[in-house]
């Protein structure tokens, strides 16, 4: 698959999503679709209820678009799965490739992370 800076709205069925969300954000995303993007991390909040990744991507015109991605699990659950998770696991200027569910509010630049690759290493 050829990656672009701001990528493809792919109609990919997600199937049986794990029942993990604590908060109402399950209802916020279109879980039948995923989008894929490449960007540069600007901030990582390893916080409750769910960690957030803020990142910049360039659209097809070269304009920077600010995005936010929510992690499905809380910090405690992520650490249970992989002890490497902490507030510095993702850092500003890291190169991010993300596959995520788009928000139901079409204009929102928010998505829910399904897969994360940081600096060419898949971490989620």
């Amino acid at each position: 698959m050829k990656w672009m800076n701001l990528l493809v709205w792919a109609m990919v069925p997600v199937g049986c999503a794990p029942l993990l969300a604590h908060h109402g954000t399950f209802a916020s995303y279109d879980r039948d679709k995923t989008i894929s993007m490449k960007g540069t991390v600007t901030q990582f909040q390893f916080a409750y209820p769910h960690p957030l990744i803020f990142f910049d991507v360039k659209d097809e015109n070269g304009n920077v678009v600010h995005w936010a991605a929510e992690m499905l699990e809380s910090p405690g659950i992520l650490k249970n799965k992989d002890a490497n998770w902490n507030k510095d696991y993702i850092k500003p200027n890291d190169q991010l490739t993300i596959v995520c569910n788009p928000h139901k509010v079409a204009t929102a630049k928010v998505c829910r992370a399904q897969e994360l690759t940081v600096n060419d290493k898949k971490i989620y």
Binding site: A21, G24, S28, Y48, P49, N80, T107, A108
Partner: protein, 264 residues
Amino acid sequence: MRHLVLAPLVLISQALIGQTKSFDPHDLSGRWDRTSPYEAYSNVPGSGGRNAIVAEAPLTAAGRAALEKNIPGVGPRAGNPATSRKINDPMDTCDPMGVPRILNVEIIAPHNTMEIVQLPNRMLEFFEWHHDWREVWTDGRPLPKTDDLEPKWNGYSVGRWDGDTFIVNSIGLDDRTWLGRYGYPHTDEMKLEERYQRVDANTLEFTMILTDPKYYSKPWASDKKIFKLNREKAKQWDEQAYCVPSVEFQFNQLIRDGGFGNQK
């Protein structure tokens, strides 16, 4: 591959050790992890995943009307931030979850822990998620009359032993709370009974039965909640998973409701 073969044997042997280890059925103290499949008061629609056996609550017409006003973030009645049907789960504003929601709110480690401390006159329950706690009086005092009480988030609770079953009766429960994350309501006249049994050294089971005639046509029992003793967690720092309003409000605005990218 060898690990894959041995893993079930290890689990089975651990379970057998738990069943054969001596224990005092009247000792409920310890850190217990909720393992029940239903993250809800009971196995209501939406609560159990694919192919789960679920049952609708015995709602009265008034109960049904109250349920319709509660818009959860999960399940078949979930709200949608792209429409006018906005989520109004009190958990999302860091409101206290109250009893019985605090008893069924989390089934995922490490948030699913409840610690029980038994004192001579009280039993205390501490909850990891939202770092909350409640007290159950065991000194023989009767419950007050509902009319004499101001409702409280976790209500008023007394406990007693009936054989090897510890029975907790609660009243005075604030009606702003939901029974669980699917939005089932209750009035402040609800009476709740919890029945705890330590069935082996590692397992605590309990069920709840609520009586609330305005909203439920008959007493409504929960599914059986199953807790496993977590001996390792007793050696660890608390997770301190507080709900922080300043964080939560920003999260709701920017993330849950899709405000990020739409700021003016």
